[in-house]
């Protein structure tokens, strides 16, 4: 709860390796990954397609439990469905049989949040995201970007202390994307939650990630952990520092 240098890391990864499949079809996705994310800090994960970024978030959220190495979230071995972790999946993970409203409210319903609070929170978040008018539609009746925003709304409604996001803005137009980044930033500034953001946008990584993890091609190895302390400041984008940082990350990705 005390900002950047909070005692104790929120996420601590130590020598994490992970394989998919078994027998001859065995594929290594992660290779001895180690890094930490401080409590209340933000972290961007960037790397080529297939480098294991989504896999990493699956591990943090407890969806993948078979790996070697150590992963601690909030000081404990990650439990499945930790109450205060929220995950935004790359494919949004919407349930086709629930209307927009119910999809957005699903996390709160599962956590048995009182209906009055639930109603209020969902209403305000749907309005904020421009989804209010479509609250009674099914996911199949929405555009790609609208679906993605429900996935975001669903996670934010949980008011998590650890927010894991897998390319959450990939289907959004530039303006909506910037609005969403701002929204995220406001939440972070207000509640000082810990954020892990997987992104393909170098600018987004630098704008939002106080720590930038650059991964290599499969199997994903940590190429470098870049510290980027000025991330999250409104005015950062227009500075020379921002530009230098972008050049550096681009070089790391090009290897």
């Amino acid at each position: 709860m005390n900002g950047l240098t909070g005692e104790g890391a929120m996420v601590r990864v130590n020598g994490l390796s992970l394989w998919y499949g078994g027998g001859e079809h065995r594929v290594q996705a992660l290779d001895r990954i180690s890094f930490t994310i401080p409590r209340g800090g933000t972290c961007a994960v960037i790397g080529p397609s297939g480098s294991g970024k989504s896999t990493l978030l699956y591990v943090f959220s407890g969806l993948l439990e078979e790996y070697s190495g150590e992963v601690l979230v909030d000081g404990e071995k990650v439990p499945r469905g930790r109450r205060k972790t929220a995950l935004i999946l790359q494919d949004h993970g919407l349930l086709p049989w629930k209307k927009v409203w119910d999809n957005a409210a699903l996390g709160l319903a599962i956590r048995r949040v009182p209906p009055a609070i639930k109603r209020e929170r969902i209403a305000s978040i749907l309005k904020e995201m421009g989804l209010w008018e479509m609250r009674n539609r099914y996911p199949s009746q929405l555009s790609g970007g609208q679906r993605q925003r429900i996935g975001i709304a669903r996670a934010l409604a949980l008011e998590p202390d650890l927010l894991l996001m897998d390319e959450p803005f990939s289907s959004l137009d530039a303006l909506t994307r910037e609005t969403m980044q701002q929204l995220l930033l406001n939440i972070w500034l207000k509640d000082r939650i810990t954020i892990v953001l997987v992104t393909h946008s170098i600018e987004e990584a630098i704008f939002l990630g106080q720590r930038i993890i650059v991964l290599s091609e499969r199997p994903g190895r940590v190429v470098e952990v870049v510290d980027n302390p000025r991330a999250g400041r409104m005015d950062y984008r227009k500075t020379g520092e921002f530009y230098r940082m972008a050049t550096r990350v681009r070089e790391l990705l090009e290897h």
Binding site: Y58, S61, G62, L63, R80, G81, R82, R83, T85, A86, L87, L89, D91, G93, L94, L95, P96, W97, K98, L106, G107, A109, I110, R111, Y138, S140, R154, L158
Partner: protein, 251 residues
């Protein structure tokens, strides 16, 4: 609105045409075979309407009641069990062999046991139907629950869902279409099984009526009973159709 009516009319027209085609086929077959055991539609329907004003209506009512009760019991028992078997592999490995050993046994052979346990009234009849359709709903629900996309489960687990939430928010809604399919199958089976179940210690129900007419070799009446069974099946089909529209609005 007018368009809506247009669609309905069209559907009704199609249904009527369909029934008409069936009747023509029946007429042709009966004319071709010239068998007393296959009277044409005209005498059969004559008998049907005559009997409907008599006792057939009552038999229809009794059978409809038994079929619906059996379907309801089977549904309530088989759907939860099927969902659990589909999701919990450890339990399934234990229970599945029992299912596949018991399901193919013709349940009539348990008649002495059923009679001993349940007496001679309605219960053994309902139990016999239930024994047959229970398995059909169970296997379908189980397979549906097994085939659910891993990603959907992950999605609600990431929201902190426990076992119960997964069943409620994913497994059940995902299985609903297949449960409806199984009900379509089961309702037909239930009616067909009447012929066995209602012939025991009974003087009521379409099964009894049919066997009675058959034993009298009163084939017109037998076909009146067949028509009644067809109609009963069709009514249940329409109910299921309406339920499907209600239950799966996201389609």
């Amino acid at each position: 609105m007018t368009r809506h009516i247009g669609i309905i009319n069209n559907k009704i027209t199609k249904t009527l045409l369909s029934v008409l085609a069936l009747l023509l086929f029946w007429q042709a077959l009966s004319a071709l075979l010239q068998l007393p055991a296959l009277p044409g539609p005209v005498p059969s329907f004559k008998a049907f309407f005559l009997e409907m004003t008599g006792s057939l209506g009552f038999h229809f009512y009794v059978s409809a009641y038994r079929v619906l009760i059996s379907l309801a019991i089977s549904l309530v028992l088989a759907v939860p069990l099927g969902m659990v078997l589909g999701r919990e592999e450890k339990i399934d490995q234990f229970v599945a062999p029992m299912i596949y050993l018991l399901y193919p046994i013709p349940k009539v052979v348990f008649l002495p046991v059923l009679l001993a346990l349940l007496g001679l009234k309605d219960l053994p009849k309902v139990a016999l139907i239930t024994l047959v359709v229970f398995f059909q709903i169970l296997v379908t629900t189980r397979d549906a629950a097994k085939n659910i996309n891993r990603d959907l489960i992950n999605s609600v687990v990431s929201l902190g869902a426990g076992r119960r939430d997964i069943y409620r928010h994913v497994v059940w809604p995902a299985a609903v279409p297949e449960v409806l399919t199984s009900l379509r199958i089961a309702s037909g089976t239930a009616i067909a099984v009447l012929f066995i179940s209602e012939t025991v210690a009974s003087q009521e129900g379409l099964g009894y009526y049919l066997l009675d007419a058959w034993s009298r070799m009163s084939y017109e009446n037998m076909f009146a009973g067949i028509i009644a069974m067809g109609i009963l099946g069709f009514v249940i089909y329409i109910i299921l159709d309406i339920m499907e529209k209600r239950a799966c609005p996201w389609k």
